[in-house]
């Protein structure tokens, strides 16, 4: 049963600093692209960003832009434009949102950051298909449209154990990118600089991991919804000093919260785990539904997707290859089941919510019986909600709300 105590909203104080470094980042990109002061590389979110930074590129991430289109609920204005030129509404709505927005000349960056008129024009497009094939098709469109080289890594996928053979393969592919990048950047690869960037990237992800793990405390000091936003610097600024400094601040605030027993969700009664991508256009709404029911989503596989313990400055390229292969999304269900089971235990979770993202089957682990197997193995109830990462046409809000409320009722009755 719920009590009538009003849930208190708590802002993470470090957010202001995050906003500043994100603004600096976007203005920096804009400056580079409009003045030609630095070459601009577009990179997939788990692409070889360390290599790009080491070679002097400023790096832009279209997936981050697509998430913004989703969060600002702009996607459905622009997806039909991409559909009209042949990109199916059934494929990745990040891709269709981003391409549609480009075709319509729309970017949420303009509203957020006055003076920025468009996404930064790339000098090179660099992908890694460790997430899905869609990123390659996505970048290929820009390559054709803008006449910009598109290079990348075709990653092994659905792997149980990451073997030396897998790492050799990706290492060779990363090395093969270097000559093209050298010719575009007109800079040789400085190994010392690469080691430095890899080291910064590793520090960033190590601290980010610590931040997420503060949620093992009861009550948890942050929610999945906080992490979906505060992961921003880990996505777009990893490999920089700014990201490391930011996460030190955030970690300090989270530790203070834990020390003072401050809960992200006041009166936390249930602890949940989120599997899958966020529904960007409903982030606040979902956070409020769960918080209103005194349930905190304390952890997620998505938030952990920017943790790369394999990164090693002593062996930069090979360790990058290993890090990109160890990613949750690259792994087979055998690994995923085991990993999720460990996470459920570590965060002492009462229930798990799977988001079946309609246009992102690669990141929706609900299609091959995994929720059922996990529930059978752990006894922890699972809920699957149908939705999408950005395409709000795939969402029934009322059905989602009923599902969540019924799940919470079920968990409370079982306590």
């Amino acid at each position: 049963m719920m009590d009538d105590k009003k849930t208190v909203r708590k802002k993470i104080q470090t957010t202001d600093q995050m906003n500043k470094i994100m603004a600096d980042y976007f203005y920096g990109l804009n400056q580079a692209a409009t003045t030609g002061s630095q070459k601009v590389a577009w990179c997939t979110s788990v692409g070889p960003v360390e290599l790009l930074r080491a070679m002097g590129f400023v790096v832009y991430f279209p997936e981050n832009h697509a998430a913004m289109l989703g969060a600002t609920r702009t996607s459905n204005e622009v997806i039909p434009t991409a559909t009209a030129i042949g990109y199916s509404p059934d494929i990745c709505s990040y891709l269709t949102s981003d391409i549609g927005a480009y075709l319509k000349g729309i970017t949420p960056l303009s509203k957020a950051y006055p003076g920025i008129k468009s996404v930064p024009k790339p000098d090179v497009l660099v992908y890694n298909t460790n997430q899905c094939r869609d990123v390659q098709d996505w970048f290929a469109w820009y390559s054709r449209t803008l006449g910009v080289p598109c290079i990348g890594v075709s990653s092994p996928k659905c792997i149980s154990d990451v073997t030396a053979a897998h790492i050799d393969d990706v290492t060779r592919q990363i090395e093969a990118l270097i000559p093209t990048l050298v010719s575009i950047s007109e800079q040789k690869l400085d190994l010392a600089r690469l080691r430095e960037v890899v080291s910064l990237s590793r520090q960033c992800t190590d601290i980010w991991k610590e931040v997420l793990e503060t949620a093992t405390a009861s009550p948890a000091p942050l929610t999945f919804f906080d992490s979906a936003i505060h992961m921003g610097p880990a996505v777009v600024l990893r490999g920089t000093r700014e990201a490391v400094a930011y996460y030190r601040l955030l970690l300090s605030e989270m530790k203070e919260r834990v020390g003072s027993g401050i809960a992200a969700v006041d009166g936390e009664r249930l602890r949940l785990f989120w599997e899958g991508l966020p529904v960007w256009g409903r982030l606040r709404q979902h956070s409020e539904i769960f918080a209103g029911l005194k349930a905190n989503i304390v952890a997620s596989s998505y938030g952990s997707s920017w943790i790369f313990p394999a990164l090693d400055p002593d062996d930069p390229i090979r360790s990058m290859a290993k890090a990109y292969l160890e990613l949750f999304i690259v792994r087979a269900d055998v690994y995923k089941e085991k990993h999720l089971q460990e996470m459920l235990e570590k965060f002492r979770v009462d229930g798990i919510v799977f988001h079946d993202s309609k246009t992102c089957p690669h990141n929706a682990n609900t299609h091959y019986g995994l929720p059922q197997r996990l529930e059978m193995k752990t006894g922890i109830p699972a809920l699957v909600i149908s939705g999408d990462v950005t395409d709000m046409r795939c969402i029934s809000d009322e059905q989602t709300k009923t599902n969540i409320e019924a799940f919470i009722e079920q968990l409370e009755e079982g306590k």
């Binding site: 009003k6 208190v8 802002k11 992200a264 969402i395």
Partner: protein, 278 residues
């Protein structure tokens, strides 16, 4: 001693149902009306009919719980609510106190709910954002065939040669129905095929591990669906006396027990994704 009544109000997408229980948990009044567009007026009308049936007045209402899609739109009677999943579970277990798998076919949703022998919910499933297999699907098909909904059950029973529909999708199914009409197929055979499609859709939602129970307005008005389900799963299916009222009865049982959740309070202090728009 004055009478005490407990109200369960199930404000569904298609129909509003009210169940009135006495303190002994006996159903003493009930009503069903089309939900329409004025939820509060419909709920009040249902409540008055149910109270008339029970010979009671509003002053004798000792507790009320709402459920269904419009559960938060009836604050004139209660701000206590439970989800329809919880209420269906409660209502069905009241009639069949054993481990059961509930199949509820409603106007807009289908639900499969598993309860253990103690009535605890183990899991539940709702249909995805798709009308196939729901009452809305039958309404669409009835329209295509120029039939009233209440004619469909008798027609399905008359069929001797079912026309199976192959599609998942309501719109595509409608096209298939039109094709059958063009080919001069019997309406009764088409209707049986439509019923078969409904049952197939709900049976694939979950493994039916326990004693199957069927509820919902679609089941109440089309009992032939239960016969078809029994044939397909090769097991008997239990149906409560008023399958359409199962959720409302569950809500009323929660009212008897003094339960029901107050409205949730929003409460997340998170930042916006667009970092500059804080």
């Amino acid at each position: 001693m004055s009478k005490r009544f407990f109200v369960g109000l199930d404000m569904g997408s298609s129909r509003t149902k009210v169940a009135l229980l006495n303190a002994d948990r006996q159903l003493v009044g009930h009503a069903v009306k089309k939900s329409g567009t004025n939820f509060a007026a419909t709920a009040k009308a249902c409540l008055d009919v149910a109270l008339d049936m029970a010979g009671g007045t509003r002053k004798e209402i000792a507790g009320a719980v709402s459920t269904g899609y419009g559960r938060t739109n009836v604050s004139f009677i209660t701000d206590r609510s439970k989800t329809e999943i919880g209420c269906l579970a409660k209502g069905c277990y009241h009639y069949f106190p054993q481990a059961i798998t509930i199949i509820d076919i409603g106007g807009q949703d289908n639900k499969v709910i598993n309860l253990d022998a103690a009535g605890r919910r183990g899991s539940f499933k709702m249909n995805r954002k798709c009308a196939a297999g729901t009452g809305a699907f039958l309404e669409e098909m009835a329209g295509r065939l120029d039939l009233q909904l209440e004619e469909m059950n008798a027609l399905a029973q008359q069929s001797r040669e079912m026309i199976k529909l192959g599609s998942f999708c309501t719109v595509f199914s409608a096209t298939e129905v039109l094709e059958s009409i063009r080919h001069g197929k019997k309406v009764s055979d088409i209707v049986k095929g439509i019923f078969y499609s409904v049952i197939r859709r709900v049976l694939e939602m979950d493994a039916l591990t326990e004693q199957v129970t069927m509820t919902g307005g679609v089941v109440e008005h089309n009992p032939y669906l239960v016969e078809m389900a029994q044939e397909m799963i090769e097991r008997p299916v239990l149906v409560p006396d008023f399958p359409q009222l199962a959720g409302a009865v569950g809500a009323a049982l929660y009212a008897v027990e003094g339960e029901g959740d107050p409205p949730a309070e929003p409460g997340w202090g998170g930042a916006k994704l667009i970092w500059a728009l804080q």
